[in-house]
């Protein structure tokens, strides 16, 4: 059995008022790998990333992560990434990660994702340059996920995003916000290449569970939704 612990939206600040390490100390016994699905920091400052790295230092299982919109806020993404890499976190922006677990292999592919809306309400790259750039960003993120999933050759595959790839897990959010919480463009590579599980965050008032068009399970692991410091997903026998 593969045990994947996951959480998103820790929003760690420099003073880190919540002592995550108390929760994560037990994680090694309960999970085989730890996934962080974005918004690891609050304002995207390296000092915040250092505070989180400090809280994660007792975790011995592999940690894979994508960044979120908050991690980009201070325009210091490379510095935040460097701190996390130094702490041993594998950033899926650097490429997919294959993790051997109990004689099997689990592959993780992921990226931050972006906005744009869903289904018939998906924004199209038409009109002003600003709008084209906006949806172009989503398309680039979807391409990144596509490349990652395409290269994975593992028994289990898990896609990790910060933004939501489906509308299901946004239930509970204001519908006016849906276009800013994710995009169905992100679900296309998942359905194209397949995955066993999709993890995302960002939708603090959303719902926990949903599916892509092809029935692949999608889970919103935003901390305010889970109201816990991680959930463990068990795959296989």
């Amino acid at each position: 059995m593969i045990r994947v612990a996951a959480i998103a939206d820790l929003h760690c600040r420099e003073d880190c008022p919540v002592r995550y390490r108390e929760w994560y100390r037990a994680l090694d016994d309960e999970a085989d790998v730890f996934v962080l699905a974005g918004d690891l920091t609050h304002l995207g400052r390296p000092e915040e990333a250092r505070a989180l790295a400090n809280e994660l230092q007792e975790v011995r299982v592999p940690i894979v992560a994508v960044l979120g919109n908050h991690d980009a806020h201070s325009d210091r993404v490379p510095d935040v990434q460097a701190v996390l890499r130094d702490a041993g976190v594998w950033l899926l922006d650097d490429g997919p990660k294959e993790v051997p677990i109990n004689g099997r292999t689990v592959g993780f592919a992921g990226t931050k994702g972006f906005c744009g809306g869903f289904g018939n309400a998906l924004l199209t790259p038409f009109g002003e340059a600003a709008l084209k750039a906006f949806i172009g960003e989503t398309a680039r993120e979807a391409d990144c996920l596509d490349r990652g999933l395409q290269t994975l050759r593992t028994q289990y595959r898990i896609a990790v995003l910060h933004y939501a790839p489906v509308r299901d897990t946004l239930q509970g959010e204001q519908p006016e916000l849906y276009p800013f919480l994710g995009s169905s463009l992100l679900s296309e590579p998942i359905d194209r290449h397949g995955a066993d599980l999709v993890l995302h965050g960002h939708a603090h008032h959303g719902s926990e569970a949903g599916h892509t068009g092809r029935g692949i399970p999608v889970r919103n692991v935003a901390l305010p939704v889970l109201k816990t410091y991680y959930t463990i997903f068990e795959l296989g026998s």
Partner: protein, 99 residues
């Protein structure tokens, strides 16, 4: 109408302050302004967050009074979810464990 516009602007400024001030850093707080009185609602992770939200809001220009209805998120122990895999996974010939 003028009052509503003014209060709306104040809500924006409070929400921006709550999100960007290092003491609070909160994006989930619901802010309502009624006749200059600010009502804060929602869930935060710690007492420190709750106190910081009030302090930051009080410093925003135009705020006369803050009434906090913030509550602490009731955190649960980590839970386990079983992910059911279909008998036939349409995307992979993974029966042998390779692809």
């Amino acid at each position: 109408v003028a009052l509503a516009v003014e209060d709306g602007s104040l809500v924006d400024r409070i929400k921006t302050a709550l999100a960007t001030d290092e003491r609070s850093g909160l994006t989930d707080v619901v802010v309502e302004v009624i006749e200059g009185i600010v009502y804060l609602r929602g869930e935060v992770e710690s007492e420190a967050d709750s106190a910081a939200a009030v302090a930051v809001t009080e410093e925003v220009e135009g705020v006369r009074e803050v009434r906090s209805h913030l509550s602490l998120i009731k955190m649960r122990p980590p839970n386990t979810v079983r992910v059911e895999l279909p008998d036939s996974r349409p995307f992979a010939d993974d029966a042998s464990g390779q692809r």
